[in-house]
């Protein structure tokens, strides 16, 4: 029988290669670091932190494609791994894909809401994002635009990656639109223009389109309210054109 005080703990062995590779990475010995990390990864292919470490070494080596593959492997194993989400956001940021960077960081923030590095990264992404108007496309489900008909059925659009499908959003947006119309009429507020809904995890605006349809625009929690409403106004114009083209 083996002596429990001397038998190597597989977990400590696993952590040892992670620690060693990380120390080598920090010293700038990147070839040695990746060799140790890949050897460890071969023994523990289901260990998310091993893939994460390989990805960070690959970034230091300037091999972004390999880093992206490693972080994608992490998410396959652990879909809400904050390190991988931050890493993929960083890669997206480097290639000026601010939408993907913000989406990744928002997902990371939901998983680790008290991680100040994620909040700081979100601030950097938003500060770097160009303020010019982006195109509004209802046929792209990733744009956070949902067009619903009068019955609350999804006509076009979607909430974006890693969010619920647009069907429930369309139904609920149409329901809120009906209630807003009723409220505005009974309280003599005149024709309703929009309803803004703010939560801790995001913001959206619901607005009427051509009297019977409803447009929902969903954005991240850090999106300025004025920009959200401006996006909705541009979305209404695009939706009206889309409906005219579809009829």
């Amino acid at each position: 029988m083996s002596d429990p005080t001397t038998t190597p703990d597989p977990r400590s062995h696993r952590l040892a290669f992670l620690d060693l590779a990380e120390r080598l990475r920090q010293r700038g010995q990147l070839e040695a670091a990746v060799t140790v990390a890949l050897e460890g990864l071969a023994r523990h292919p289901a260990l998310p932190d091993a893939h994460d470490l390989v990805a960070r070494i690959r970034v230091d080596q300037g091999r972004d494609d390999d880093a992206r593959a490693a972080w994608t492997a992490v998410l396959d194993l652990e879909p809400e791994h904050p390190g991988a989400l931050k890493g993929l956001a960083y890669l997206a940021f480097r290639r000026h894909d601010f939408d993907e960077a913000e989406r990744r960081l928002e997902t990371a923030r939901r998983t680790a809401p008290r991680d100040v590095t994620i909040l700081a990264a979100l601030d950097r992404v938003r500060a770097a994002r160009p303020m010019q108007a982006t195109s509004v496309r209802l046929d792209d489900p990733a744009q956070g635009l949902v067009l619903a008909d009068a019955d609350g059925l999804l006509v076009a659009g979607g909430l974006g990656p890693e969010l619920p499908t647009g069907d429930a959003a369309a139904a609920m947006a149409a329901g809120l639109a009906r209630e807003a119309q009723r409220t505005a009429r009974f309280l003599a507020l005149g024709e309703w223009r929009h309803v803004v809904v703010e939560g801790q995890g995001g913001r959206c605006v619901v607005t009427p389109v051509q009297g019977t349809a409803t447009l929902l625009v969903r954005r991240s929690a850090g999106t300025p309210i004025g920009r959200l409403v401006a996006d909705a106004q541009r979305g209404v114009e695009a939706a009206a054109r889309w409906l005219e083209g579809a009829s």
């Binding site: 609920m172 209630e179 009974f186 005149g190 024709e191 309803v195 703010e198 939560g199 995890g201 619901v206």
Partner: protein, 117 residues
Amino acid sequence: MITSGWSELLAEVTAVPGVRGALVVSADDGLVVHEAAMDGLPTADVAAFAAAVIQRALRLADATALGAARHLHLAARDGGLFLAAGPGPLWLVAVTEPAVETGRLRLLLGDLASALG
């Protein structure tokens, strides 16, 4: 529930130019809990409709992964409703004219709603 001080709190809201009235409503049953209304404002109706809008907005927030809705704004041609979540079912509601200072009122309601507890 500590309601002392609510009148002062609502008075801060109605002091904002363009606010016609302010009230605390229960979103569960659509009833007025406390009010500081201007002349002619049907506060019972406001509470009932505000609660209906809140319930719909909460469902939308759930369907769109917004988390718990904390602020709502219904904007209309001749005015609007601003709503901020307080503790439990309580919401602070302001009825406004079209020319209200939207940004200022939104921030004020958020601060004051948290003081309803």
